[in-house]
Symmetry: C2
Subunit: 459 residues, 2 copies
């Protein structure tokens, strides 16, 4: 095994090491997370308010204060197909950088859908099936989440309907075909399948669509059909919970490697891959077991909700349909620049990540996309794997922290989440390699404008 | 671990289990393989004849009669990045088929390039570097081989020039970008970089290119530059040798699973992934250690060299530049139909595979592509992974053999090579899912015609 001093590259675990419980960081918070509010009344919502959209099994997890939640055997039996994911020691990258840092990465691209997303998709579909749901509707942008849910639905025999943002549907056919190969029905959004979609098309028949519109369609679909629920791939507490298998495995693997993480790094769009890796480590900080560990969420300069946003109540979606959640937000009407890291183009951030950031248990850094791709290419040329554009942002900060180790003359153990591969994002690499990739400045005027449209919350 | 009776899905090994020696089946042949002949003299060629194109380290392996050849530590250190590859028990597929068969697959798609090709690319680049070669030229069709070699050259600090068939260069930009991300220089072939390319372009400025033309360009490049050698991704003995890590690992994994393969299956284009998995098992048949094991090479109906070709001396390439090798061939001038499984569009077959087929140590089956994709979609919906179109052909025969087990009421252990993933072949899946994928009959008239153009070999 990859001991700290040996020359092994990977720490692999056997399937008996797949966690049997998810770690719920809510149990270890100093004060409870702020409640989710009803947009009309300004009052905290209850489980029944969410029942039209989610099965009760997931709603219970959303609000649970228990530290450990059992992972059902049926879920673990699917996770076995790619879990435990390998923990790599990036020896070749360390050498290329000439750093004394010990760099580790958890590789989530080994799932058949190519990212960490199936970890929660499988759990979500399972709880839906448990409660007799026959069909799930969701939205997807570039397709990472849609393909994870399509695969999970196929495994449990549920139908899956994906509203895919039209511009992605047209420009990125491969993710669509992937979903169809796993049996999902995919339509370009706005579609004529919903009232919301029809309304948009009436106003603009050539609408390219947006994630906000696609959410509206999926929510309407789920709310108007008895056999259907809705499913979300990030942000919510239960989604972050399901992703903690990543960090729990990583801890066990580092122990096997006779090492201990000092810095934990993940990119953060909605926050689920960052939280999945970091929460089990941050939990040790909350409980005082490890007071020095640093966890860094990395976001793009063009969409820096944690580092530039306001910690207030806002809508989770662009259109303003969801309950109000307290989070760092750039304003729900803010439309981020067309970054290649589509998964990081979100105006807000998972409420649990925000609370930990507000209380200084975690840090955040924003990086520009050209610097992220420079880091990703360096990574690919050392380690082989071509990272997803989202993960590239994490790698930028890993390399920066490794350089600080070089300057300080002391090696630290840095752990990061390589949340997915970049096989469907190679056009972004081409733009970088040919010098055509552009950076986007922090859009302060647009953010200021969007922050003016925050919902008013009744006291 | 995945015991025969347990419920684990994968058998994983640690890096110390990566084989330390390649298995050379030439040592166990009953009679030596027929010699390679000089096309001009008809006489067996010697190592010096190959020296302009290949480093002596590889030429020695090509003709070695030693059973076990040491894998250099520097090669194993790169293989660690993805090896040992997992052995899966396809429990979900077995259940979907309702078969008593125990289906295992070795998954080679875990390499960063997405197929088994890097197993030999790394070894080839290593031996080139050992002998001071600074640059390697090769050809690639759809890009599997080119991307494996690009990555390996990057790891060892060699330059890499890839002549990519122009029609693929234009239609499949992702594989090209992958090669460029790993630092290779890629040109559309025919190119103006070689005399061979210029000649083709003079006659037809719009030539779409072909693998034959690209080979001519790469060979000319290597032969006319002192710093450059040529590299081939299949067919040759040393390539098959390097791939035996697949079968050697699989044997160890099956032992850990307390099972023994009764049928071993791989798709066969040039023959290297089939040989890589099967030769360690076929070796047991040659030496009498296991008399009953069956090894089945699966080829496409549209290009069935083993099942329909002639066992004669022919050129390895389309143009007729290479030495003459004795193999099952459809004639070097035969141009296969535009199958989606580009890796199976080869007029001949690795000479070692052919000799074993001639002597009935292995079997061969040809399957049509629609049936192959039907099997691949069934596989993806059970196991998650979307197979490469080449691997889909193997899966077709796996499912057929599993059905025979069902009919006979006796479960056998079937092992196959899932040689790569289909992330860059999703348009083929779309064609299948929309009913537009067509089958190609066996082109008997075209083969008859091509067989009339076999080279005359002096007695």
């Amino acid at each position: 095994m990859a001991t700290r001093e040996g020359n092994d590259t990977k720490v692999v675990l056997s399937e008996t090491d797949i966690p049997t419980k998810w770690y719920n960081i809510q149990a270890d918070l100093k004060t409870p997370a702020p409640p989710v509010l009803h947009p009309g009344t300004g009052q905290p919502i209850g489980p029944q308010d969410l029942a039209p959209l989610f099965p009760m099994g997931l709603i219970k997890q959303e609000v649970s204060q228990e530290r450990w939640l059992e992972i059902p055997d049926e879920v673990r039996d699917v996770l076995r197909l790619w879990r435990p994911s390998p923990l790599y020691r990036a020896r070749r990258l360390e050498k290329a950088l000439g750093t004394p840092a010990r760099i580790y990465y958890k590789y989530e691209g080994v799932s058949p859908a190519g990212s960490h997303k199936p970890n929660t998709a499988v759990a979500q579909v399972y709880y839906n099936k448990q409660e007799g749901v026959a069909r799930i509707a969701t939205e997807t942008g570039a397709g990472q989440w849609g393909s994870a849910l399509a695969m999970a639905c196929q495994f449990f025999g549920l139908q899956c309907k994906v509203y895919m943002v039209k511009v992605s549907y047209q420009q990125k056919p491969y993710r669509r075909i992937m979903m169809e190969t796993w049996g999902a029905q995919v339509v370009a959004s706005p579609s004529t399948d919903t009232q919301a979609g029809k309304k948009v098309l009436e106003a603009d028949p050539d609408s390219p669509g947006s994630l906000g519109i696609a959410i509206s369609e999926a929510v309407e679909d789920a709310a108007t059909r008895d056999d259907t629920k809705y499913s979300l791939g990030s942000v919510l507490n239960h989604v972050l919970l399901h992703q903690t298998v990543i960090g729990l495995e990583a801890k066990k693997q580092l122990e096997k490697a006779d090492d201990e993480a000092e810095i934990v790094i993940g990119c953060a769009g909605g926050g689920s891959n960052f939280a999945g890796l970091a929460f089990p480590f941050v939990g040790d900080k909350l409980t005082g077991k490890n007071k020095t560990i640093r966890a860094i969420a990395v976001e793009p300069t063009a969409c820096p909700s944690l580092t530039k946003g306001k910690y207030v109540y806002d809508f989770g979606d662009t259109v303003g349909l969801t309950p109000l959640v307290k989070m760092y937000t750039l304003g729900h009407t803010f439309v981020p620049a067309p970054l290649h890291a589509g998964g990081l183009r979100y105006h807000g951030m998972a409420p649990l990540v925000c609370k930990l950031y507000e209380e200084k248990y975690i840090e955040a850094v924003a990086v520009p996309q050209v610097a992220a791709f420079e880091a990703a290419v360096r990574f690919a040329r050392s380690e082989g794997i071509i990272p997803a554009p989202e993960s590239a942002h994490a790698i930028r900060v890993v390399i920066d922290e490794a350089k600080k180790c070089t300057e300080a003359g002391r090696g630290k153990a840095i752990l990061f989440n390589l949340s997915g591969h970049g096989h469907f994002d190679l056009s972004a690499y081409e733009a970088f390699l040919t010098g055509k990739l552009q950076d986007y400045e922090y859009p302060s005027a647009k953010v200021e404008e969007a922050l003016r449209h925050l919902p008013k919350v009744k006291a």
